[in-house]
């Protein structure tokens, strides 16, 4: 009687230990896109896309919430602040009816969007600034992007930094190609002459120092995404 009970307890313990070993073995922090962590990440990506509401706007922040000058972190992967090459223009390509290049002047003549919202960094900090620029959805209209191109890729002259976005987030009304910050032209430390800004993604998705926007039928990766960070990264 107690013998069977012991055996049952033993089997249960073996089963628990086995499960723990399999689970932990499938969790490799340096390769979080694989194994059990990878499967959960794919689940989380579906969860995030399902939760994403294209009508949900990031709330406007009051002027008092503005991060004080100099305290908004500057970030780029080059050794020095990347400076725009002479004759800079934005290349627009992929599945579009009218591929081509747009100068900053041409972008400034397009409808302008302004907002003051909170920035959420993957590291955990937040900061507030106001931004102005032209919506990615306006750009898509201008170049005649194919509706089947459900992903948008943003490339930069900051040592090859790039990121690709899902269409619904890229065409969100608060996703803009920003050429201004806090009422001034965009400074080089924050991505001049043109950067991506949005209320619905973590900071690393918002590519600075833009050189190209491509409307694509497939997602590509991204600088941090290729190193193991989440691809969707919505907030």
């Amino acid at each position: 009687m107690s013998d069977t009970r012991d055996r049952r307890l033993l089997t249960r313990r073996a089963w628990l230990l086995g499960t723990a070993a399999v689970t932990l073995g499938a969790c490799d922090s340096s390769r979080p896109r694989q194994g059990f962590l990878g499967a959960m990440e794919r689940f989380n990506q579906r969860f995030q896309s399902a939760l994403f509401d294209p009508e949900q706007l990031a709330p406007e922040e009051p002027a008092e919430a503005l991060t004080r000058p100099g305290a908004f972190p500057q970030y780029f992967i080059s050794d020095r602040v990347p400076l725009a090459p002479a004759g800079w223009a934005l290349q627009v390509g992929g599945r579009v009816a009218r591929p081509g290049v747009l100068s900053l002047e041409e972008l400034r003549r397009m409808p302008r969007t302004d907002y003051r919202i909170r920035h959420h960094c993957v590291e955990g900090w937040s900061a507030v600034a106001s931004w102005h620029g032209v919506r990615v959805s306006e750009l898509a209209k201008l170049v005649g992007a194919d509706p089947r191109a459900r992903f948008v890729e943003f490339r930069s002259f900051d040592a090859g930094y790039y990121s690709s976005w899902d269409g619904p987030s890229a065409f969100h009304p608060q996703t803009i190609l920003a050429y201004g910050m806090n009422g001034e032209p965009l400074p080089p430390e924050h991505g001049a002459p043109l950067r991506l800004y949005s209320g619905v993604k973590l900071g690393y998705k918002m590519v600075k120092y833009l050189t190209a926007v491509n409307f694509l039928p497939e997602p590509t990766g991204g600088y941090w995404e290729d190193r193991g960070y989440e691809w969707f990264a919505g907030v």
């Binding site: 979080p32 962590l37 959960m40 955990g124």
Partner: protein, 216 residues
């Protein structure tokens, strides 16, 4: 009582022991995430109430090796913690056990105070235990509420814009982050007290493992 029942039925033991690895994994991967920015408050306006501004948590307390690793562990196992909580609360409600286990202030407040006085050596009589005294009900109900708040504040940090109604309830993203870390400290404090009490009353450990003797 119509059936013979054990002091700790199977669902309680299952949910209880599942919490042990889940809380450890979540706490450690959470501290790995905190390491990336060990400050509280928005950029340029750190909170005065947080005493450890700029101090990263010790390495032995972290899991995930780097920020992306910590995030993947945290967001993978957070769901299992939520599932375990939903299972436990559904069982509490479905079985009617909530009446015996949850703290109902009008019934339990007096007994909770008496029990606290007993442990502080202010009273001689031992508290009654059927199955829990008022202080136990207070502690276990309190920790359940903390766990719920921990999940809700975590959801704010995960999706502050999509869940912006919840974000406003916490007073914003950075307040929710402080709450999320503060509750972790309270949960750790509870765990220490819990283990000390179990050491003082070892019978309860046996009951949480085997279920205990059936009462007729």
């Amino acid at each position: 009582m119509p059936h013979a029942r054990r002091p700790q039925p199977g669902p309680v033991r299952l949910a209880h022991w599942a919490n042990v690895p889940l809380l450890a994994l979540l706490a450690m991967s959470g501290l790995q995430i905190l390491t990336a920015y060990p400050m509280m408050g928005p950029q340029g306006a750190p909170y005065g109430v947080y005493p450890f501004q700029g101090t990263p948590p010790p390495e032995w307390a972290r899991l995930g090796a780097w920020l992306a690793g910590g995030r993947h562990w945290h967001f993978a196992f957070g769901w299992f913690f939520v599932l375990n909580g939903v299972f436990y609360v559904a069982w509490l409600v479905g079985s009617g056990e909530w009446r015996r286990r949850l703290f109902l202030p009008r019934r339990d407040a007096r007994d909770a105070l008496h029990t606290a006085a007993y442990y502080l050596r202010l009273r001689k009589e031992a508290p009654r235990q059927e199955p829990y005294n008022g202080l136990q009900r207070f502690a276990y109900t309190g920790v359940l509420m903390l766990a719920i708040l921990e999940v809700l504040s975590g959801l704010v940090l995960y999706k502050p814009v999509q869940l912006h109604a919840l974000t406003s309830l916490f007073g914003g993203y950075d307040p929710a982050r402080l709450v999320h870390l503060g509750i972790l400290a309270l949960l750790a404090l509870f765990t220490v007290g819990h283990v000390v009490m179990v050491a003082l009353h070892p019978r309860t450990l046996g009951e949480m493992v085997t279920g205990g003797r059936r009462h007729e």
